[in-house]
């Protein structure tokens, strides 16, 4: 993890939902690049027109469709759902074996060989991103990789490359600046907030929208990095161990001491047996 450091130079996605046409090119590109199996789906199995109904072990990204009314007209809003590549990912902090990691480049990647399959990452992720291979006898976790292998080789993620209009890719600082500029230049087009700038302590995916975020179904998420919630308790672990252990040891030494002394006195009274002497020898050593 980038210890308390800045995430300005990590790579980030800027997804401008006002420019998204709902073509789902990103969805297809992601499937192709990651060689994900197709899912048999049918329309209206989920909420509205979106298909497939949710992200899954076969679908790392998906375009959500939201219909709403504007001036009495039916309108659509689209937005691409994917792993947010949080600056301080909850999924990585809870993983007992550290199978999930924030890379210096930005993507949060998963090392399948380490994973024990406890599914804590799925519990922890505030955006519901990691999915499980429920179809398998020995399942692993699947989620968007941020196309780490492509980035390592100087390419952009498959989905960002395929997108004709809405996705911009670059360093997080640049993307935030770009988003701020767009909001400033066309205030009537944009809702004045960048989703992901502060959510969960900041994420590697930033969204611009026209409507208020909650109307579009963006989850309100705390702006404090999630790992800090558990760490404030966990950091006390060594202290608690030493305090409890130390005080109970001291206590038992005292409670047992009385008895020891009593016994020794008894023995003195009775006259020493060789056994009692042996005890005392041992006790007298520092």
């Amino acid at each position: 993890m980038n210890a308390g450091g800045s995430y300005e130079n990590t790579k980030a996605f800027l997804i401008d939902t006002t420019k998204c046409t709902g073509c789902r090119g990103c969805q297809v590109a992601c499937k192709q690049w990651n060689q994900l199996e197709g899912e048999k789906t049918h329309f209206f199995s989920g909420e509205g027109y979106q298909n497939p109904p949710q992200m899954s072990e076969y679908t790392f990204t998906r375009v959500k469709f939201k219909d709403y009314k504007k001036n009495g007209q039916n309108e659509f809003a689209f937005y691409k759902e994917m792993c947010m590549h949080c600056n301080e990912p909850a999924c990585a902090s809870v993983c007992p074996v550290g199978a999930l990691k924030k890379t210096a480049e930005g993507p949060v990647v998963y090392e399948a060989d380490k994973c024990i399959g406890c599914r804590f990452c799925m519990m922890a992720c505030p955006f519901g991103v990691p999915k499980y291979e429920w179809s398998k006898a020995f399942p692993l976790v699947r989620k968007c990789t941020g196309c780490y292998s492509r980035i390592k080789n100087g390419l952009h993620p498959a989905c960002a490359t395929a997108c004709p209009t809405a996705i911009t890719y670059g360093t997080r600082a640049e993307m935030i600046k770009e988003a701020e500029n767009r909001i400033k230049n066309r205030p009537q087009r944009y809702y004045p907030k960048i989703y992901g700038q502060h959510e969960a302590g900041g994420t590697g995916v930033l969204y611009l929208t026209h409507q208020p975020l909650d109307e579009l179904g963006f989850k309100p998420v705390t702006s404090r990095p999630l790992p800090s919630y558990t760490w404030q308790a966990l950091r006390m672990v060594p202290g608690i161990f030493l305090t409890v252990g130390g005080s109970l040891s001291a206590l038992s030494w005292f409670t047992h001491r009385k008895e020891r002394i009593k016994r020794e006195e008894e023995m003195l009274g009775k006259g020493r047996s060789p056994e009692a002497e042996a005890h005392e020898d041992r006790e007298e050593r520092p």
């Binding site: 902090s93 809870v94 550290g98 499980y132 692993l140 309100p220 308790a233 966990l234």
Partner: protein, 402 residues
Amino acid sequence: MTAAKIIINEIKGYHRFLQAMIVLVGLGVLASAVRFIFGLGATTHLNDTYPWGLWISFDVVTAVPLAAGAFTIGVVAHVFHIKKLEPLVRPAIITGFLGYSLVCIGLLLDLGQPQRGWHTLVYWNLHSPMFEVSMCVMAYTTVLTLEFLHPVCERFGWHVPLRLLRNLEVPFAVLAASISSLHQSSLGTFFLIAVDKLHNLWYNPLLPLLFILSAIFTGLSIIIFEATLVHRYLRQPDETELLQTLTKIIPWFLGLYLVVKLYALAYLSHGPRFDRPGLTALFLLEMVGGVVVPMVIFSLKRTRTDSSLQLRAATLVLAGLILNRFNVSMFGMIQKNQEIYFPSVIESLVTLGIIAAHILFFVLISKYFPVFEHHPETVDYAIPDRFHKIEGSEEGDKTVKA
């Protein structure tokens, strides 16, 4: 007669209740086999919305505090050195040993890659509460196994290890308490990551403290529960008089828990608390039925000597704890308009099998090993002694045949 025949004849002699337990355990083993052959997705009702279900909520999150009797009574009897409570220690250790062993089994069943369980020992992540809990559970299971060797050595008359174990009794009690305060509380830390998911009635930063406090009064209550039942159904001596000491301790912890809980609810939780009637009902049930009422009963003078009142109050505490852990790990996590999770047949059979295995092995161990016949008065604990034959061990041999 072959060994198998001896075993079958032995089993035929068991009470019908025990035979039923054997059947349940068998079904549980079968269900686990099915789970491994067909996979989690096919055999459980877990899905991406409910990555954790009955197995985590009961077999781990609830079973761990239910097994807290061993460390609490260990502290009371050995550290505070209330010697007369000694007879309660050994049954509690057996329960703890069984409880933790079964927690390990439950955890392995729930893992998608159980063959990689050892990875936690190799790839450390100090930021993960799950890492902390698994390390502690492994360490504590080892301690409990060593403590459990005690009656085993006595049974077979192995004097040298027995002498060693006796001298380690107090250090083990201290170690058990330190490890327990870590992982009992860290189970609460699990849910601190569920910001905006776990309902405000349960989500607050003091959750780990509440978990360890409730583990303490649950540990003490389960000892009362167990001792009373064992007296009634296994014809063991009546310990009401010894339990009296515990009934004096429990209300303090219940009270402390109540104060911390109410403080956290009032000042540390954010957002609406009583917005969902279903959850409010569960919350009240847990707090009133599982904390306030037993606190009152335990504080009554009459309870000191009345074993059925003790049993009733202890049962309430246990029921309240189970409800609390389910509220935190399951019910409180259900978002508005979300589908509801029910455990599948396989999941239920496995959990039933685990509970049955606990009862079964407890009865069997106390049948074949000196668990209740332990007479600590005759033994010198305070000073290390030479390795010689221990008084009272012949007696241990005799009781085996009983």
